[in-house]
Amino acid sequence: MSGEPWDGRIVIVGASLAGLRAAETLRDEGFTGPLTLVGEEPEPPYDRPPLSKQVLLGKARAEEIGLPRRRKVDARWKLGVRADGIDPVEKRVLLADGELLPFDRLLIATGTRARPWPNPAEARLDGVLTLRTSEDAARLVERLDAGPRRVLVIGAGFTGSEIASACRERGLEVTVVERGPAPLVGALGGALGAFAATVQRAHGVDLRCGVTVTSLTGRDGRFTGAEFSDGSRMDADVAVVALGAVRNTEWLAGSGLAAGPRGLACDAGCRAFTMYGIVTDDVFVAGDVARFPHPLFEYQMLALEHWGNAVAQAEVAARNMVTTGPRRRPHLTVPVFWSSQFGLNIKSVGVPTFSDQVVIAQGSLRERRLVAVYGYRGRITAAVTVNQAKWLEHYQFLIETAAPFPPTTGAANGIAPAAPVPSDVPDPQLLSHGPTVALTGHLPDRRLTLVPPGPVPSAIPRP
C-alpha cells in the first residue's frame, strides 16, 4: 500500500454490531489515531438475532449474547450514554452527559428501536412489551416463564412471527393480529405470506389478519386484554408490540444531515448527505440507520434492517473513512437475511419486494421445502428458500448478473416448475421509492467485481 493511512480523531456513535465491526476494520486498515465508541445501551455489543429465537426458547440467556471480537481494538468506550446531537461546524458530538466529543471523522451507526404502541397510556400497562434489546428480551422471557394464559402479538412481521413461534414451542396460547392480509407479506409478498399463514395456523397460532387492535385494556395498571377492529375482544396476560422499527435519527435534527424517518441518506461509499443533497466527506453511515442507493435495484435508496448489511456496510464505511480517492469502495452487497420460525429456516437474497412476479422454482409449498424466485420486469431480483438453504447462492449469482426471470426450467428436482404468479407486494412503504440522489446509470449485466487500484492485477478476474 502506498501512502500513509489517514490520521485524525474518529468517533463512532452506535456501539452495536455495525459500530463494533467498523471499529475493528478501522484498526485493520491501519488507523492508529484516537477512536471513541458511544453506545446508548450499557452492555457491550451483543448479537440481536438470538433475542427472538434462542433466548425466548430459554436456550441462551439474554445477558449472555455478547459478540466475539475479531481483534483487539484500542478504543475509548462510552457506553450507557446517548448522543444528543452534532455540531457540524465545530465538528463535535454532543453527549447526554454533557461531554463534547470532537471528531475529524464521524460514523453514525445508531440503528433502530422498536416502534412503540401508539397510545402511551396503554403502552405503559404492565405486561405490554416490545422486543429489540437484551433488556426487552429478559423481560419477555420472565413473562413467558410465568406461564401466561395467552400472549397477544401485535404485528406479524419477522419479529412478531418468531415470537409467536417461540410461544407455541413453549406450549403457550398465542394470538397474532396483523393489519395486512397475511404474516410476512410485507417482506415476502402474497404467495409466501399465504404459506406463512398456513404454517402458523398449523402450529396452533390464533392468527387474525386484516384486523387491528383498537385498544389495549387493563385493570389496576396491568394489561388484561385487547379490543379489535372487527368488534371482538380477548383476554391475554402479555402483549408484545411488534410493529417494526423506528430509525434513530431524531438526534440528528439540527445537524443539517439528510436524516429523517426513513434513515440517514448516504452515497454508495457510505458518506452521509446533507439536507441539500450535498455529500459530506467527514460523516459516514452504516447499518440499520443508513439509506443507500443500490445499483441492482435501480439505485433506489434502500434501508435494510439486516444483520449482514450492518457488517458489510460497516466494513466499507470504515475503510472509506481512512482511505481516499480511488481506494474507496462502494457498498454493493446484495441484501441477505434469515429468519427461523415454526421449524422452518427462511433465507432471502435480493429484495423480494422489488418484484412483480414470483415462482416456486424448486420444491413445493406442500412439502414446506422450497425456493421462491422473484422477478421484476423480466429479470431475477430476489430468491427466498424455506429449508433449502444450500441452493440460495445459485440464485444470488442470478440476481447479481440480472439473469432473466423466470429462471431456466429443467431443475434437477424432478418437479415441473410452477407458473409465475403476481408477487403481490402490498405495501410500497417498505421500499423507499424515488431516489433522492441521482447517479449515473449502471446496467448489471455482469457480476460486479472490485478491482484494487494501483499495480496492474496479476490475474484478470474471470467473468
Binding site: 457491550p44 451483543y46 459478540l67 438453504a389 444450500k390
Partner: protein, 69 residues
C-alpha cells in the same frame, strides 16, 4: 469465549453440531441455534467446530467491549 454465526453464510451442513453438540443445535431440519457464551468445558469443541465449518461462518473470540486490550 463468545461465538457468533453468520447465518447468512450458513447452509446447514451441521458440521458444528456433530463436533460440538452442546454448543450448536439444529432446530428443525436446518435452523442452526448456538449458545453465544461457550462454557469452559466446551471451548475446545467449539474451536474444532469453527475450524470445520464448510462455509467459514463461525467466529469465536473473547467478548468484544471495553477494557479488552
Amino acid at each position: 469465549m463468545q461465538i457468533v454465526v453468520d447465518l447468512n453464510r450458513c447452509q446447514a451442513y451441521a458440521q458444528c453440531v456433530f463436533l460440538a453438540p452442546e454448543v450448536f443445535e439444529l432446530h428443525g431440519e436446518e435452523t442452526l441455534m448456538f449458545m453465544p457464551t461457550v462454557p469452559d468445558d466446551q471451548q475446545e469443541r467449539a474451536r474444532r467446530a469453527a475450524a470445520a465449518c464448510p462455509v467459514q461462518a463461525i467466529l469465536t473470540g473473547e467478548q468484544a467491549g471495553p477494557g479488552e486490550w
